[in-house]
Amino acid sequence: MAQYKRLGGIMAITLAATTGLTACGFGGSSGEATGDGTTLDLLVPSYSDATQGLWNDVIAGFEEANPDIDVNLQVESWDNLESVIATRIQGSDAPDIYNGGPFAGFADDELLYPVEDVTSDETFADFQPTFLENAEVGGTTYGLPWIASARALFVNDALLEEAGAEVPTTWDELLASAKQVSELGGGVAGYGMPLGSEEAQAEAAVWLWGGGGSFGDAESITVDTPENLEGAEFIKKMIDDGATQADAGATDRSPLFDIFVQGKLGMQVGLPPSVGQIESDNPDLEYSIHPIPTQDGEPFTLGVADHLMAFQNDGDKQEAITAFFDYLYTADVYVPWVQAEGFLPTTVSGSEALADEEALAPFLEVLPGAQFYPSTNPDWSAADSAFKALFGQLDSKKSAKDVLAEVQAQVDAG
């Protein structure tokens, strides 16, 4: 009899353990309130090694000011972020606050609070108007612009001087200068062209938009157009003429920028944090920052804003979320965060606070005229991944026309 008892115990434990396992994957409720307070779940990507610490500081300050609200932090790499959020939504376990890229799909599925419902009037009015417009889905703002970045051309002055090349403002000048630098030999390449899966959509935008094209708007994604074809053809020309590093189609941006920092690339398009990277890894590099060359020489930049968004879940945490956002966007909290990560602020008060920051000047200058991805189009995610997966094929026997058509086809299949 005693034996049976023990068996029963083992069975009970095993069963409990296994149901526990399933609960992990499909748990409906996420760490509910401890005692009488509210718990906010925060899911954010890692921008750098410092990200987690920066958020911890923000959360510590916020919890001190609001003792009845607890904040749970989950930091994921960009690679995993989107599958984590999809899995959590599917398991009815969406975070309350999420920091990510495209959000139109969430808005379409009616999962998000409109921004005005979770911010005070002062906080809402402080955002730069262009950024708010960029975060609208069907006339309602669903994403809180969090950090912004712009692109500019980083030029290795020493290499260009050695090759006797000029800093380019048009495509033809770029091709000529890059070829001159490439001819220096010794593993040096003129222009760093990252069409690998990491961020192919950004290099695509730099070229296709620089030739007068676009990716479409909030209603439709248009990739396969005559305007875009010009940029794509010129990318092929750059590659075929030997103006770029080898294997442009499968080179990712970050490792390639390391090569620029090592002084082996004449030019590459970079971001505000690139300044800090050069500062820490190779401060002796002689470089300068210039507007991105375009077909006709008219300066332009690709602006990217990442957004915060608030998920409705059970709809009972609106006040806590509002308190968190209002705290987060005060200049004293927000500006140090943005500055530490090396990005640009999206609020008026933030820009004013950073106005005399020298390293960011070339970027802040071009930011007002920035063009954005059509990220409020629900199909943008599909377009984004189609570019990542397929655009690098420009570096192959496939024609530019075929590559654009293939990207468009994958977007349309969505």
């Binding site: 049976y4 068996l7 029963g8 083992i10 069975m11 095993t14 069963l15 296994t18 149901t19 396992l21 399933t22 690679d79 989107e82 599958s83 959020i85 999809a86 899995t87 959590r88 939504i89 599917q90 799909g105 969430f106 379409d108 599925d109 999962l111 030999g185 010794g186 593993g187 069409l195 690998g196 899966s197 990491e198 192919a200 590093q245 080898a246 294997d247 189609g249 499968a250 080179t251 990712d252 490792p255 090569i259 090592q262 082996k264 629900p378 995610s381 599909a382 991944s385 990542k388 997966a389 397929l390 655009f391 690098g392 094929q393 570096d395 192959s396 994958q410 299949a413």
Partner: protein
Amino acid sequence: MKDLLKALPWIGPAVALIAAVVLFPVGLMFWNSTRDISQSGVDDGGVGLANFATVVGFQYFWPILGRTVIWVVVVVACTLLGSLALAALLNKAFPGRRLVRMAVIVPWAASVVMTTLVVHYGLEPYFGIINSFLVDIGLIDTPEGYGWTRHAGTAFAWAMAVAVFVSLPFTTYTILAGLQTVPGETVEAARIDGANGVRTYFSVVLPQLRGAISVAVLINIINVFNSLPILRVMTGSIPGYDADTVMTMIFKYMQNQRQIDLASALSVIAFLVVIGIVAIYVRAVRPLEEV
């Protein structure tokens, strides 16, 4: 039936565990493959077999399936040949054998992702040591090296090499265990009858290894077919679908395109393919029966 009821307290926990961690996820996978799931993960209702039609209708589906077959056959075959040689060596007594036996386990003990990353970085142009070495001895004439992992063919070949490397330890040890069950008398008898070493190995030893080899091959087929990390690291930055197997394609559906429904459908296909292969193999070779 009564026996079954009597046995229930003993097998119950195991059955419950299998149900929870094997049958339930498999069921969910089948269920998801017939649903229309939005990019953010919301279930928009059933669509029957439409997901399967989309997956099979994809223009690169058949090349990907073909590449998967090549991947499995080449990796398992090379692994088996290498392991047979290694196991024969390790079965001989020589000074330091214990150390060599330990060394063979290393690729097994190391994380697959780590091993692959080491090779991947070695193959990077500009700073990878494999590239630097090849440049230094004059096999490559571009000073920054060759983009091994940037071309579908070479990246896939290197991935195969890594896959063989990490599959060797398990297979070697399985065969080594088999070798040690071969009775010394049979080998001795063959020698007395005048058979040379090669003849003895192929006619006497190898047939007695049938059990060990067939189990090793079966497990390797399943493992290699389902292997994601090596290909994911080695071929991850290549645009298009010219270096994908079924597993990396499932991953691309899920991670890049966030189409959980299509990923599930392809997973179901992969699942059925593996079951099919295993069924055929078990019927033909009967690895679980005594010689």
